[in-house]
């Protein structure tokens, strides 16, 4: 691009061509900037805590959000035939009812920490279409690592 800037200052015969080149490049750069900014506005999903979701639920209409919490023991009811899961997740004493259709990770169950993505409905039920379970292996690794660093004997 430095070619163009230079020739603009000079009276070279190639000036006109390079102006067109710069305009073309400029249009591309603008288009990319527009696509990026616009895309981020549409596609950034906020991660909210349960209490934030409950507090803001009125202004969240139709906005996709992610949230996490532990599955309340005994709250899961499953319709195996249609793969529909209704359960509650809780965190810091507050809970939300979740409605989810799809497959679940194998470790999904009581007391498992899950992260869900979807939309809050007017009736206060969260309709999730993505459900992932926080993999416990990372925690295990950390515990074991600390154990390794601090030997029990010797």
């Amino acid at each position: 691009m430095q070619d163009g800037q230079q020739s603009l200052n000079e009276n070279s015969p190639v000036k006109g061509f390079n102006r067109r080149l710069i305009i073309g490049a400029f249009v591309i750069v603008l288009a990319i900037a527009y696509l990026t900014v616009n895309g981020l506005r549409d596609n950034a999903t906020y991660y909210l805590e349960i209490n934030e979701v409950l507090a803001k639920s009125s202004d969240l209409d139709e906005q996709r959000i992610r949230m996490g919490g532990k599955v309340l023991p005994g709250s899961i009811s499953i319709d195996t035939q249609n793969l529909i899961y209704d359960f509650q997740i809780h965190q810091d004493g507050q809970s939300v009812t979740v409605h989810y259709q799809g497959t679940t990770p194998d470790i999904f169950g009581d007391d498992i920490h899950v992260i869900i993505e979807g939309k809050m409905q007017d009736n206060g039920i969260f309709h999730a279409d993505i459900l992932t379970a926080q993999c416990p292996s990372k925690m295990v690794a950390r515990v074991e690592q600390t154990n390794l660093e601090k030997p029990p004997h010797k």
């Binding site: 070619d3 490049a25 696509l35 895309g39 950034a44 999903t45 793969l83 799809g102 690794a141």
Partner: protein, 658 residues
């Protein structure tokens, strides 16, 4: 003293050697003292040996199940098959950094050997630059994450390798990708050497072309293998998820692709030098960034950055490399600024310029989308994620324009092309492209798909016409028969026609991506025993479950009979493996039946019982073409990079003389 100290001592000696070698090679060239240069060269080779010894020591630790070594405990176990030892080697942070430093030292050795009689003025600085990079990695290995750290006591058994990594794909994908990152150091070193010495003529261009192509090829293979691994192991029916780790591997590939194209403008016209140099520097910086990101977990949250013990070291090195190369570039700017602009906006060189702009745009959008969550969290405290739709939405159109340009580019002449000549040579491909567009719109009713198919047909037609044109001229001039003329045509212009084959590979990959994104069907079903489910042209029947207990794992699977288009094609058995040591992390073995038309992809989503099983079933059209395209791409690279007979001959005779 334990044998593993050999590894540690090798690292320390290698660090000292790398500092010596760097200083010696610069001193030698400054003071015209040849013996010191020879000594520096030997230094490079000694460092390669030391690094190989260090890696060998760690491998020995794995092979002998030395559970007194912390790294071995964390990444292997007694019952692990031997062929996964190698993937355990780079399964963690310490090992992969060791691998980085080792492969870099070997590449440095090869570069020094190959160029011992070439680039006399550049090589000392190339060596010094590489030595700085090696010294950095050795510092990290010695002072922050020592792979040879011993535990005060021996463990009875190790933790074993994460089940997700127990796959043949994982044995070759990470080393390829890391090697891709590593190889960016060599072109970077040549660029830095050229900037320092001010020898910015043609030498460095020749040198970086080959090394850039090498880095780019290795990284292409690494990315393809990664996609293949994700498709066969992760179970969500796709091969590319715009995950941060994928994105950072994609970035140097994108800037590398751009530099591979702009370097042709430097070679042919001596223009776009600043641009090309910046791209090579950027690719190297992104490779460092990628290595760091993959192993530090910074992208999951800013907080993990603070926790990581190598974060600040990498940040410091990255900043120094950035500031240093930028300062050098600014210092030499008056010398490398282009004398004048392009002659015409419709020319090969401006085609390359637009190609570069689009690629940089894709890189920028991908980079921004990847780090946006970190920046947002750092400044506002809000946690956000940017999902795949962002990347598809932004990069989709850019790739589309890039694809069109891939068709037009080869038809553009250097310096200037008249609009009339361009339209004339494009007319047939344009007609074919438009007919394909209209036909596929009528059939699929999907405008985006129709546009893409139109573009693909257009590009393919231009490439085939290029071949035809070259072939006819050659046959007319030499009277050779077609097959011979074709072979000679390609072998006399390897870069050009090899490059076209790479383009064909990209087209095939694009066909696979478009087909599998636009026409994927997915059903998640709970099946009772004996029940059948139809998806696409397939009918699946759940026959029964099975289970097997191995020493290190339990396997639960479901047996399905498959019917394709009314014909029984046998059984498929998706299963889940529960490793004793990784209870919380069941690992799925996906069943895939592949044809050129579509893949039937079955993921077992629940533990099967005798009564029922829950499956996630995908029909992924045309995925096979991604792998075929990948193979064609590699073939194209091989043709483009195949050494000239004459240079091979001269280098052979040179060796004989020595």
């Amino acid at each position: 003293m334990a044998y593993s100290d050999i590894g540690y001592v090798s690292l320390v000696v290698a660090l000292v050697m790398s500092i010596y070698t760097g200083i010696a090679s610069i001193t030698a060239v400054r003071f015209y003292y040849a013996p010191l240069l020879l000594s520096a060269r030997n230094g490079v080779w000694i460092i390669s040996c030391l690094m190989l010894i260090a890696s060998g020591t760690l491998i020995y630790g794995f092979m002998t199940h030395d559970f007194g070594l912390r790294y071995v405990v964390l990444h292997s176990s007694v019952d692990m098959p031997w062929y996964y030892i190698s993937s355990a080697l780079w399964g963690g942070q310490e090992g992969s950094l060791l691998y980085w430093a080792t492969t870099l030292s070997v590449l440095a050795g090869v570069a020094t050997l190959r160029n011992r009689n070439r680039y006399g003025q550049l090589m000392p600085y190339v060596i010094a630059t590489i030595m700085i990079v090696i010294a950095f990695f050795l510092t990290v290995l010695i002072f922050a994450t020592n792979p040879f750290e011993r535990l005060p006591f021996s463990m009875p058994d190790g933790r074993g390798l994460n089940p997700l990594l127990r796959d043949p794909g994982m044995v070759i994908h990470p080393p390829m990708l890391l090697l891709g990152y590593v190889s960016w150091t060599i072109p970077f070193a040549f660029v830095i050497a050229a900037l320092i010495t001010g020898r910015l003529g043609t030498e460095w261009v020749r040198a970086i072309r080959r090394w850039t192509l090498l880095a780019w090829s290795i990284q292409s293979i690494g990315l393809l293998l990664g996609a293949w691994w994700a498709y066969h192991v992760l179970g969500w029916g796709g091969y590319w998820g715009w995950d941060p780790v994928e994105n950072v591997a994609f970035l140097p590939w994108i800037t590398g692709t751009a530099s591979l194209h702009s370097v042709m403008v430097v070679e042919r016209r001596g223009k776009l030098k600043v641009w090309t140099i910046s791209l090579v520097i950027l690719s190297f910086l992104l490779a460092i960034f990628g290595t760091f990101v993959v192993r530090s977990g910074i992208l999951s949250s800013v907080h993990s950055f603070a926790e990581s013990d190598i974060g600040h070291l990498f940040l410091t090195f990255f900043s120094l490399a950035l500031v240093g190369s930028l300062a050098l570039l600014l210092f030499r700017l008056p010398q490398i600024k282009d004398e004048e602009g392009f002659e015409s906006p419709i020319s090969r060189e401006s085609g390359f310029l637009f190609n570069n702009l689009l690629l940089i745009g894709i890189g920028f959008a991908t980079f921004w989308g990847t780090i946006y969550p970190i920046i947002t969290e750092a400044f506002t405290g809000d946690k956000i994620t940017v999902g795949p739709p962002f990347f598809q939405q932004v990069n989709g159109p850019l790739f589309f324009v890039l694809l069109l340009l891939m068709g037009v580019g080869p038809l553009l002449a250097w310096r200037q092309t008249s609009m009339r000549a361009l339209v004339k040579s494009m007319s047939l491909p344009l007609v074919l492209g438009f007919s394909a567009l209209i036909m596929s719109q009528l059939i699929t009713q999907k405008p985006f798909v129709a546009l893409s198919i139109g573009a693909l047909v257009f590009v393919t037609a231009t490439i085939l016409l290029e071949y035809k044109r070259g072939l006819i001229i050659r046959k007319r001039n030499t009277g050779e028969i077609y097959p011979l003329a074709l072979t000679r045509l390609v072998s006399r212009n390897k870069q050009r026609y090899g490059g076209y084959i790479v383009h064909i590979g990209i087209i095939l990959i694009a066909i696979g991506i478009i087909g599998s994104t636009a026409f994927q069907t997915n059903r998640e079903v709970n099946m009772k025993k004996g029940e059948s489910v139809a998806i696409g042209r397939y009918v699946l029947t759940y026959e029964e479950s099975f289970s097997r207990i191995d020493p290190e794992k339990e396997i639960l699977g479901s047996i399905l009979t498959i019917n394709r288009g009314g014909k029984n094609i046998g059984t498929m058995v998706p299963s889940t493996e529960f490793y004793n040591k990784f209870q919380g992390q069941p690992s799925s073995k996906i069943a895939i039946s592949t044809t050129l038309l579509d893949d039937l992809y079955i993921f077992q989503a629940s533990r099967p019982t005798d009564n029922d099983v829950t499956l996630s079933i995908f029909v992924n059209p045309l995925v096979m073409w991604i792998w075929i395209g990948g193979t064609v791409l590699i073939l194209g690279i091989l043709i483009a990079a195949w050494p000239e007979k004459r240079t091979m001959w001269t280098s052979l005779t040179q060796t004989a003389k020595i």
